[in-house]
């Protein structure tokens, strides 16, 4: 009897097995990016930029040229690559410590210049690789290894809302926040990633997808519970949706305070 392939690893991914923890969202998003690059027919002309953080080894997984960048500097490295090869596709893959803390300037100015590059931003409300410290995106009351009593507004302010912030930067072109906590949202995330890369292919400028993603090990809860945490705790504060489309504001900042 002939075997029939009903599911296969994307050609956009290398053979190397992921090093990510069980229940982590990185593997899901990696797969989506790989599929999108293959579907858009640009895999061979794509250059990935890996951050410092859990996804530091992302260059090992995407089956295209890859550069590893210093902590927070991926958008600067990306525009360096893009300026040197403007006809290639360049994206950076960054976590919330990398993008929303140490790399804030590089992120804002990539949007400010309207760099024709794409950022895939994983918001899991924690520093995963270094052992579960507080991130700028950590929720109020959320316990981490550096906020053992829960994040307080008094000392740390309210969690930063990145797509809302970048929507106010005049030159940003396409901004969407999605989640990977269930199948329906994973499909929406893939569509958003595809649109972000299409924006770059069309030469329209800066695109970013912020993806709410579970970190069960960092959060100290079971994988299924982590999916619930994204839905019940993160989504009310970080509303999903398109914040900027075609350079126009589409949704004003909402969500809980």
């Amino acid at each position: 009897m002939a075997t029939k392939v009903i599911y296969d690893k994307s050609k956009g991914l290398d053979e190397k097995p992921f090093h990510y923890c069980p229940g982590c969202g990185h593997g899901i998003v990696h797969k989506l990016i790989a599929e999108v690059l293959v579907e858009l027919g640009v895999l061979d002309k794509t250059i990935s930029v890996s951050p410092v953080g859990c996804s530091v080894l992302a260059y090992d997984y995407f089956n295209c040229d890859g550069v590893q960048a210093a902590h927070g500097r991926a958008p600067a490295v990306a525009i360096g690559l893009k300026k040197a090869c403007p006809d290639k596709i360049v994206f950076s893959y960054q976590g919330d410590g990398d993008l929303a803390s140490i790399g804030t300037a590089e992120t804002v100015h990539a949007a400010h210049r309207g760099d024709n590059t794409t950022i895939i931003f994983i918001n899991n409300a924690i520093y995963g690789m270094t052992g579960g410290q507080m991130a700028p995106t950590t929720l109020i009351g959320q316990k981490t290894s550096t906020s053992p009593f829960g994040r307080s507004k008094k000392n740390c302010g309210l969690p930063i809302k990145v797509v809302e912030m970048l929507a106010q930067v005049p030159s940003s072109h396409y901004l969407e926040r999605t989640s990977v906590h269930d199948f329906a949202n994973i499909r929406k995330t893939k569509a958003a990633i595809k649109k972000a890369f299409q924006t770059q292919i069309d030469g329209k400028g800066f695109s970013m997808v912020e993806i709410l993603s579970p970190c069960p090990v960092g959060w100290g809860i079971a994988p299924i519970k982590a999916m619930d945490f994204v839905k019940e705790q993160m989504m009310p504060y970080y509303p999903l949706g398109v914040y900027k489309d075609n350079g126009e504001l589409t949704k004003l900042s909402g969500g809980e305070k």
Binding site: L57, D60, V67, A76, L81, K83, H109
Partner: protein
């Protein structure tokens, strides 16, 4: 090409274009502003890349990206800005990416001042970034030499896959001298062997990276880099050695202060004192061998630098105790005069070259 009168900063910028530099990333800081100002116009005219980054940190990381893609690329800054670039320089060295970094130095520490100084010898030569690495460092003393060394720097960077720095003191950056741009042939390097140029349809995919989590693997990477450093030491060390056979004292100076030392040598000659000069043109690799061939008549080496004493450490290592070395410096942007350092030389000789 006839000689034209050009400002140091502008001449070395034009030399970079003639060297085939296709992208510049920088950030404003005095006294190097003529470089980005000049290149913002010329790169546009030539259809090349000019980006004024949001910070020195971003600029050096843009350099990292463009170099990773295989471009000939440069940045420029001044001392405090170079301090900010150290992270990127370490990454460039770690990932073995070529680039050209020009520092028009100023007085420090901290915000310091914008006047000429040489207080950043350590910054350039000993590295401020993390890890075991060196970068070749060129220190021209004239506008003509600055342009010649820009050509060389880009070639050395490509040949050995290393960031290369140039230290230009504030005086050289601001001064105008006649210059003739003579680009040598470009070194031939196949960058597709390592560059992440987005051509993975034509070859196996490339990865540019300084991360290596295996101890033995990273040790090996370090040893490979240091084997190249040995080659650089052997082939790329440059200096001007001008020591008479009967020299009693030898100045050691780099950059424009080496020209002041030449004036001092002339003054001493008028008084019947024979003095010489060792001028390191590469600060790393340091021209150690020059110090081993000094004539027996030399009683002392006088290191004149616009710092509290930085290069003198390398001079003492090179001399290895054979001849006493002294330092004379002015700092904060004050520049010594020829008679001032000639007097210092006489003071030292009066004491027989022995320690004060």
């Amino acid at each position: 090409m006839a000689k034209v009168l050009m400002k140091g900063n502008e001449a070395l910028s034009e030399a970079a274009i003639k060297a085939g530099c296709t992208a510049f990333f920088g950030y404003p800081i005095t006294p190097q502003n003529e470089i980005p100002e000049y290149l913002s116009e010329r790169m546009e005219q030539e259809g090349l890349v000019f980006v004024q980054a949001e910070s020195e940190v971003a600029a050096i990381n843009m350099v990292y990206g463009a170099s990773a893609a295989g471009a000939r690329v440069m940045t420029s800054s001044s001392s405090p800005g170079i301090a900010l670039k150290q992270e990127g320089i370490s990454y460039l060295a770690g990932a073995r990416l070529p680039c050209f970094i020009c520092s028009v130095t100023r007085a420090g520490p901290g915000l310091g001042g914008i006047l000429p100084a040489q207080a950043d010898y350590f910054q350039a030569v000993k590295g401020g970034g993390n890890g075991d690495y060196y970068t070749p460092v060129y220190a021209p003393n004239s506008v003509q030499e600055a342009t010649d060394l820009v050509f060389r720097a880009f070639n050395v960077a490509d040949e050995y896959r290393t960031p290369v720095q140039m230290i230009v003191d504030g005086m050289l950056g601001q001064m105008m001298e006649p210059v003739e741009l003579n680009p040598p042939p470009r070194v031939k390097v196949d960058k597709e062997l390592y560059a992440t140029s987005g051509n993975s349809d034509k070859r196996k995919r490339n990865i540019v990276n300084s991360l290596n989590l295996s101890g033995l693997g990273l040790e090996q990477m370090n040893h490979e880099r240091f084997r190249d450093y040995e080659k650089i030491k052997e082939k790329e060390t440059l200096s001007e050695y001008d020591v008479p056979k009967d020299a009693e004292i030898v100045f050691c100076a780099y950059g424009v202060p080496s020209r002041i030392a030449k004036n001092a040598i002339s003054l001493l000659k008028k008084e019947g004192i024979s003095a010489g000069l060792i001028r390191p043109i590469t600060l790393w690799p340091f021209p150690e061998k020059d110090f081993l061939k000094l004539p027996k008549t030399v009683k002392a080496v006088l290191v004149t630098e616009l710092s509290m004493g930085q290069m003198i450490e390398d001079v003492r290592l090179a001399l290895n105790g054979s001849i006493p070395a002294y330092h004379y410096g002015r700092v904060g942007g004050v520049v010594f005069e020829p008679d001032e350092i000639a007097e210092e030389a006489k003071r030292i000789l009066k004491k027989g070259g022995k320690k004060k």
